[in-house]
């Protein structure tokens, strides 16, 4: 997330501004195109939390690091102040899978947590991961609005997500997922995990053409057991999708009389 330093920007000569925008929008356009290396998108954020939100889907931290440096190296970088960021990795919702797998392994008589059991799980996960490559390396939906927020699961003295039996967690996540499914045609949801990577446990990206859907889906979920009892939420960032070609318009010194 970046804030534009409007005051320095306004003091820059129009001609320089044009060149700086040109350089930056060329760079962003290349990032927008989905290739092997991944895909980026940018959003015009609403409110004081930032003016721009850049979303980068990449295959490794090295590539994210390269993107960061490319942006820092843009002349436009002098007019941007980074307000925050989030690092996470897309993961498949494995609750359903796990339950099925665990039953099978139990039937095959493997000891839970033993070497064979762990190997069987690793193999199954690897197999699933290949099959679900498209879910692991999603493209950024072309919706008009984007919403990002980080979240964690509550660990209190009485209520503690991480001390619940797997079956209970699974049942709650299934009910939680049902709400997501009801809104599936209206909102695309990409969940990424960040335990060990960033300050919350997950990052959530929502993409929709109607921004009210963000409110509807998150509000309805707040009443399900998984969220009501165990959901902790960080800051919410809402923005309008922009294309690299629109960067100039976004950074135009608008005519206040219009």
């Amino acid at each position: 997330m970046f804030r534009v330093r409007w005051s320095s920007w306004r003091q820059t000569q129009p001609d320089d501004r044009r060149k700086i925008v040109g350089e930056a929008s060329d760079a962003l356009r290349r990032m927008e195109e989905r290739g092997e290396g991944g895909q980026s998108a940018f959003f015009s954020l609403i409110g004081h939390k930032g003016d721009l939100m850049l979303v980068h889907f990449r295959r490794s931290p090295d590539e994210l690091n390269r993107v960061e440096q490319a942006i820092a190296g843009l002349r436009l970088g002098d007019f941007l102040a980074q307000t925050t960021s989030y690092l996470s990795v897309v993961e498949l919702g494995l609750y359903e899978l796990s339950l099925r797998l665990y039953s099978e392994l139990g039937e095959r008589g493997l000891a839970v947590g033993g070497a064979e059991w762990r190997q069987a799980i690793d193999e199954e996960l690897t197999r699933q991961r290949r099959a679900e490559d498209a879910r692991l390396w999603p493209e950024i939906p072309g919706c008009r609005y984007g919403c990002f927020y980080p979240m964690s699961k509550f660990r209190g003295e009485e209520k503690n997500w991480y001390r619940l039996p797997l079956a209970e967690r699974q049942a709650m996540m299934r009910a939680h997922g049902m709400i997501g499914r009801k809104y599936a045609s209206q909102v695309t949801q990409i969940i990424s995990g960040s335990i060990g990577l960033d300050d919350w446990e997950w990052g959530v990206d929502l993409f929709a053409d109607d921004p009210l859907v963000f409110k509807k889906v998150v509000q309805e979920m707040r009443f399900d057991e998984a969220s009501a009892n165990y959901g902790l939420f960080g800051s919410f960032f809402v923005g309008l999708r922009r294309s690299a070609a629109e960067l100039g318009a976004l950074l135009a010194i608008p005519d206040p009389t219009s």
Copy 2:
């Protein structure tokens, strides 16, 4: 919310200041006029949290985004530092409505959460929304004082708003609403929802001609069950309503001897 950079402002030539104020107050005046696109109001805030509070009622995030950019584009923008902001959407208090509707649907034998039930609810909400257009798209009351604060409902280990039965929440909200109603002639209250949009669950705007009423109504409410047990409150912002025409006086370099 914006802080004025008084030091840079004072260093600006009087003639420039006049032009900058002229440009900004023209822009604000157009925003103050209520049209299809919405309406804005501005307040002179008290205390260090900011000097100006701009309140924008708009029909979409796109229009809010446009307003943000228009203000960033004002030459006055160089003398303003944004301290905070809040994004939320006006919603109708649907507890009463929901209860009545739920009873009816039950009598009609519709299964709770089923497709028919959801459709009936959507239809009713749509119908209500049309009827209550004025409440959904309110105008900004012309009172002398404004107060804004965000709030959420508590989710603790024992007490958790989102785990209470609807009827209990409804009863508490009705009692809570009674207090609001007692003060209805003294204060106009506009509740907006922000789950999925910003960092708290609601934003509350109060408008009154007597600023002590803000204290009276919020204090009396603190003792009702909904607030005492479940109300979490963010920062409170209190300001004096100003018109675009008063911007010059507000930004005048005052004569300290007067």
Copy 3:
């Protein structure tokens, strides 16, 4: 609360500094004089939380707003950074009064919360307020030291001030008040309410000639039930009272060899 920008201040020509101090101390002197419009006092704060604390007692937010703008408009304002502020309104401790009044109204057979009951309470409060005008519009004591801190009452899952019966709260506040009374000759305490106005529920101003008294009274109170169980405390600000005439000495670039 303001921090002095010593570095810019030192770079200012001695002659300019003299004029800037003259202008500011003239303005402060007028504010120090107690008139219809209120009274101000200033303190040299100890520690990093600020260098100056300005305390303004005024009759309305409009007048506080005017004071703020007058200070922002001082040339000295360019050398001050506002670190924090607090907005609150002096209120009478009405627990004793309320109890007596409620008994009377009960004896007169008025229904609690009914129209007649509310009217009787409003009338009594109005009557009391007139009689206690001096307490409502206090002057700023001329003590050598000042201490300010904001506070709120705790609302936990088990212990919740706002869910206690009035009689219990009253008994605790009476015991709490007894401690204040023991120190009455050593410290003047001005309680002001800020529910609906600022981020805590009360602001507390203490004025004393012996700064250790601040520690003694607050520490003794920490053990009473009202504070121990229900008191939440914000930042404490301690300063030395200065007169407008001392502003020059306070802002003098001191000779470090002395």
Copy 4:
């Protein structure tokens, strides 16, 4: 605590730097000498929390205020940014004393909290204070390392230090003190109280020649009941003692190749 503005400092002419250091180290040397007015010490802090920690033992807030202004007035002040500070007053651990005194007063038949009882306590405290002048006005130990942290006692819904009987608090503090005593030859501990003065309830200064002792003593204490159940801790600041004469070396622009 102060951070050095290295960038501005490096841009200053070597000759100016010499004069500025000379002026500052002269001032610090006078503060280091223990006199009637008190004594100061300075430390080179480790980490981002600051570069310098100045510890001032003084007899009154007025003298602390004077020290603050003397430092702000140093030309070196332009190259220092104050990051934090703490205000507290040395107090004797009166638990032992209180218990003995309370028993005596009980035997003399004085009513707890009555006028005579309070007078007897005040007299005893005054007598003790005179006798223990050296503990009240300690000198700053000449150890190589210093550690400062603020702390408070926990007030939860179940566990609340301030609601425990005096005898229980006393027993816990005695056990806590035993740990301190075991380390007495390795670490000097100066406890100061700050209820009513700053944002935590106590400030703790530790002085030792072996910095690992800070970890050992604080860690061992974390397991005693007083700390484990009731100790809340703020930031920890660890630094190396420096003399005024070393200020130049500390602020030298080091040769990075050495």
Copy 5:
């Protein structure tokens, strides 16, 4: 952790930049070499928390302080803003050891906490420490990725790590350690203690060639009793290992068109 001031850096002449990088990478190279004095490593951080993470393993705070000053003294220091830091000391996991030792001492009939008992423990610890010198003064693993986070143990009203019997803590730490052991071939974990030294109780350094392993190990641990019930976590910092020779490339003003 440091943020690069890209804007000032870009404004520096290429020739100057070359010299500044040369000076800094010479200094870093000397720190990278493992000697008696310790060893340093640097990482390119991902996200807004900083651009560079410098990890310094040293034998004393004095040497850490010297490193800090050496870096502040680099001309590159003018282009770096320190965002945070952490001070801690490597400690051996002594739970296993303690249990064995305590049993032995019990069998020898020594009173727990007595002088003889303490001496026996000190001797054993000293003996162990010598034997485990390599664990106490580890070298920095040469992995491609590094992860740092601070953590503390929970002390709540019901659940309180520091009030549990040693045997219980030991059992939980053994189960916790088992997870670490499973990942031993994939991740090197260096635990350091910071009670009394910094704001959390431990610092954790993870080093791995596959960054997903950070997520796997921390996530699996979140479910063990020690972490799920008692683990409190600070910010997570993830970076790519860089050598001093790569500093130039890292600080190159990248060509945005590439």
